[in-house]
């Protein structure tokens, strides 16, 4: 029994030249040629805008289907659709991309400072402006030795570090969730920009081996593709405990997405489900996390920094403190807006906390305990633009990780159909005919451009703030003010209200 009206409506105007390009481009099968014209199956349209982008005659528009229900604030159309879908299938509703619900976005409630008269702003085009960032464990102080000539030598032995030329890194997105071309673009752009990408938990495709100095490899609960050569082919290792889009649950790459190539990289037979258990079964407590951190350090003879990624949950500050004390060199906090290739909707939309609040609390907690230097903080989950990067750094992040924003640069239109594997833009798919739509060279160029533009904007703001190094903004909450927030949130964020 059909209950749901379509979500979108595809309109084809008279200017259609019947070239059928749109039909070829639509990976969701929403368009067909019938009776000498293009006909749409509105139910199948995902509003990915592949057809509108490629129509040479600009003859296609996608609109919201004008289905008017009786107004009801409580029983929204989204809720009704979910109930009908569950009534049909008896199954959990699966979705892709990040939480799209209207929870507050605290980035948009914080404003940055600028210099006027009493201290000068700096022109970033004229004077040096530094974004270089090192991720890794730092000692609390340094020791030097001075020889008779007065030359000074560092005697403190430094832990391994990752050198970044921008405080922006690429978030973990596994081969399987995204296509090989996406990973090649991320790796190529990371190398060109002097930053790093993260393989996610799907193993390391052989094609990426030349980029190993710009790659973070993940050790997640599924342990896919992990062996000694994997652990040593990287700039750092990340233990994935959780993900902002789906805190507390595991992952599950359905068998139909486990192609020959994916199977080779994950080292499992093709066609079988790739299941990542909810916890790591060697980590049931914080002391077990320490055991795994040091197992990875032992396995790589202490040459690689080991990070830990956790989802932002209610008690994140205390958890982060434990993670740092367990020996993590970096801690990634992933907020509830973070993206995903697939997650149960109930988890994606209702679990976790905003990254802004989580980050502020974690930085503060580590400082209070005097252990902030022991690990770098990476904030992720809904970082959209350079302003978000700056605000995250002012709250205390060493760097931010971006996933969705990088995919948007490659063509993602946020249609949230990642979990179907039908991505028309060649991003979240393993279908060869779709993957080849994403040109690696062009993708690298676009992503490099986007980050370069962000870097310019970050430098512009640093100049306006009167500082010429990113570390002088890092944790400097004095340069942030809150608007449209009550005192409790200001207190959690550790910032003053605008006007004070």
């Amino acid at each position: 029994m059909r209950m749901m009206p379509p979500e979108f409506m595809v309109k084809i105007s008279d200017s259609c030249i019947k070239c059928k390009r749109c039909i070829n481009e639509c990976s969701f099968g929403a368009l067909r040629f019938e009776n000498d014209r293009v006909v749409a199956d509105h139910d199948k349209c995902a509003a990915c805008h592949r057809c509108t982008a490629f129509c040479p005659a600009h003859a296609i528009t996608v609109e919201k289907f004008p289905a008017i229900f009786k107004d009801n604030y409580l029983w929204s159309q989204d809720v009704l659709k979910s109930l009908w879908k569950q009534s049909e299938s008896g199954a959990k509703i699966l979705t892709g991309a990040g939480n799209d619900k209207p929870y507050p976005v605290f980035w948009d409630k914080m404003l940055l400072d600028a210099c006027q008269v009493t201290n000068p702003s700096i022109d970033p085009l004229r004077e040096p402006m530094e974004l270089r960032t090192y991720l890794g464990k730092k000692p609390d102080k340094l020791e030097f030795w001075q020889d008779k000539k007065g030359d000074i030598k560092l005697t403190t032995v430094m832990e391994p570090q990752i050198k970044l030329e921008t405080p922006i890194i690429f978030a973990g997105m596994s081969y399987g969730a995204v296509s090989l071309n996406v990973q090649l673009i991320l790796a190529g752009a990371a190398r060109e920009l002097g930053t790093i990408m993260n393989t996610g938990e799907g193993g390391l495709p052989q094609e990426l081996s030349e980029y190993k100095d710009h790659i973070v490899v993940q050790c997640a609960s599924g342990r896919f593709g992990i062996n000694l050569s994997y652990l040593n082919s990287c700039a750092a290792i990340e233990i994935k405990i959780g993900q902002g889009a789906k805190p507390g649950i595991g992952g599950h790459l359905p068998g139909e997405k486990v192609t020959e190539e994916i199977s080779r990289t994950r080292r499992i037979p093709s066609g079988t489900d790739a299941i990542s258990p909810a916890p790591h079964h060697d980590i049931y407590s914080i002391e077990d996390l320490r055991q795994l951190i040091y197992a990875l350090k032992e396995a790589t003879r202490y040459k690689k920094p080991v990070g830990v990624k956790i989802a932002a949950v209610h008690n994140v500050a205390a958890i982060a403190s434990g993670v740092v004390r367990a020996g993590a060199d970096m801690i990634t906090i992933d907020g509830f807006r973070g993206g995903t290739g697939a997650a149960p909707q109930v988890i994606r939309d209702h679990v976790g906390i905003p990254i802004e609040l989580a980050l502020a609390r974690v930085d503060e907690q580590l400082r209070r305990e005097g252990i902030r230097h022991m690990a770098s903080i990476i904030a992720s989950g809904g970082i959209r633009q350079s302003a978000d990067v700056l605000k995250a750094i002012a709250l205390g992040a060493d760097a931010v990780a971006i996933g969705t924003a990088a995919l948007v640069s490659m063509g993602c239109h946020l249609c949230q159909k990642c979990h179907t594997g039908l991505c028309a833009w060649g991003i979240a798919t393993q279908k060869p005919e779709l993957i080849k739509r994403l040109n690696v060279e062009e993708g690298i160029k676009r992503l490099v451009n986007m980050i370069k533009a962000w870097n310019l904007e970050i430098k512009e703001i640093l100049g306006a703030l009167g500082v010429n190094s990113i570390e002088s903004l890092r944790g400097s909450r004095e340069r942030l003010r809150g608007v449209d927030m009550d005192e409790v949130y200001l207190d959690v964020l550790g910032i003053k209200p605008a006007g004070r």
């Binding site: 700096i122 500082v467 002088s472 944790g475």
Partner: protein
């Protein structure tokens, strides 16, 4: 009167310092006439001086200069001091009675000895003094220790520096090292403690400019137990020096470099050892970098150091005449008290200039 700043202190300023490296003393009216030349750089809302070698008969005791709002808080602080140390001498700081400055607090000085038995395990004598100063300045409402070193003293108040000098009768003091400060605050609660120099133990700092990285410098210090309550850059600089030099025991050059380190571009071109040292310094002490315009004169029993930010957004002129070194925001202030210096120069941005007391045989 004791209302402290609630928002960040923002002020322009004049700084000057004079030191005789052989330890010959100079009268207080010399530095006063130097700072007075830069009258236009202050606005009458703060002036102050640091003087070294002024208490030779009490040189082994910590000299606390304390301002009090009333006799009540003075009594409770004195009880606390007597409990934690031996008060060798206690007296009013001499002032020119006929002269009045706005909001004058009770000004008293104490010479204190620390019995070994009073020092908690794991603390050095200096750690102990710092903890006493922190405690009084944060827990005793209406009391403020503005000088805590040995054989040195800070004198400061509301007014132009030359008025503050006359008020404290500084022409009667002889010191081998003087620094002075004239203040131009844009917001002030009219509190004497907010004037500069700011000191801790025998360190004193006078400072011109506003540090744009104040927010993170302050949070960094808080991690090590420093409580920055004055909302001024100068306080942060003093604590930073205390942390880097005394607590972390960094070589002086390195500590100062941490405040204004070379750019990455320069570091990348250094030889291996230096590159390694500088890279680590920036990694570990990034939060200690004083970013934004400043020129500072840092004084201690053994040295006077002048330095600007790494892109020289605030001026500093240095001169030498035989054994005497002069540092100032403006050359005119130096020329006022030393007509024909042997050399006059403006140092590189971020590069410290030292005057050092010669070791006496």
């Amino acid at each position: 009167m004791f209302k402290r700043a609630e928002t960040k202190d923002i002020s322009g300023c004049a700084v000057v310092g004079i030191m005789n490296e052989k330890g010959k003393t100079i009268r207080g009216d010399v530095i006063t006439s130097a700072i007075a030349v830069m009258h236009e750089r202050s606005n009458g809302l703060g002036g102050g001086f640091a003087a070294y070698g002024i208490y030779p008969e009490f040189k082994d005791y910590y000299a606390f200069h304390i301002m009090f709002e009333d006799e009540g808080v003075k009594d409770s602080v004195e009880t606390f001091l007597q409990d934690s140390m031996v008060v060798v001498k206690s007296e009013a700081i001499p002032i020119r009675k006929k002269m009045s400055l706005a909001n004058t607090p009770i000004l008293w000085r104490y010479f204190l000895e620390v019995p070994k038995s009073k020092i908690p395990a794991g603390f050095s004598e200096e750690d102990f003094i710092v903890s006493v100063v922190m405690r009084i300045n944060t827990r005793f409402n209406g009391a403020f220790i503005f000088s805590s070193g040995k054989n040195m003293g800070i004198f400061k108040g509301l007014g132009y520096p030359e008025d503050v000098s006359r008020f404290f009768r500084l022409e009667e003091y002889e010191a081998y090292l003087w620094t002075a400060h004239g203040r131009f605050p844009t917001n002030t609660p009219g509190w004497w403690g907010g004037a500069h120099p700011f000191g801790l133990l025998d360190w004193a700092v006078v400072h011109n400019g506003e540090i744009s990285s104040y927010g993170i410098n302050k949070r960094y210090l808080e991690m090590f137990g420093y409580e920055c309550t004055l909302m001024t850059d100068t306080e942060v600089i003093v604590y930073m020096l205390d942390l880097l030099l005394r607590k972390h025991n960094l070589p002086q050059d390195i500590a100062l470099t941490a405040l204004a380190p070379p750019f990455w571009k320069e570091i990348d071109e250094m030889d291996k050892n230096k590159k390694e040292a500088m890279t680590a310094l920036r990694m570990v002490y990034g939060s200690a970098l004083l970013n934004g315009p400043f020129s500072i004169i840092i004084s201690s029993t053994s040295s006077m150091i002048g330095m600007t930010d790494r892109i020289m957004l605030r001026p500093l002129v240095v001169a030498r005449k035989q054994d005497t070194v002069y540092m100032s925001s403006e050359e005119s202030a130096i020329r006022e008290v030393c007509q024909d210096p042997d050399e006059v120069w403006s140092p590189q941005g971020g590069e410290p200039v030292y005057a050092r007391l010669e070791e006496r045989a």
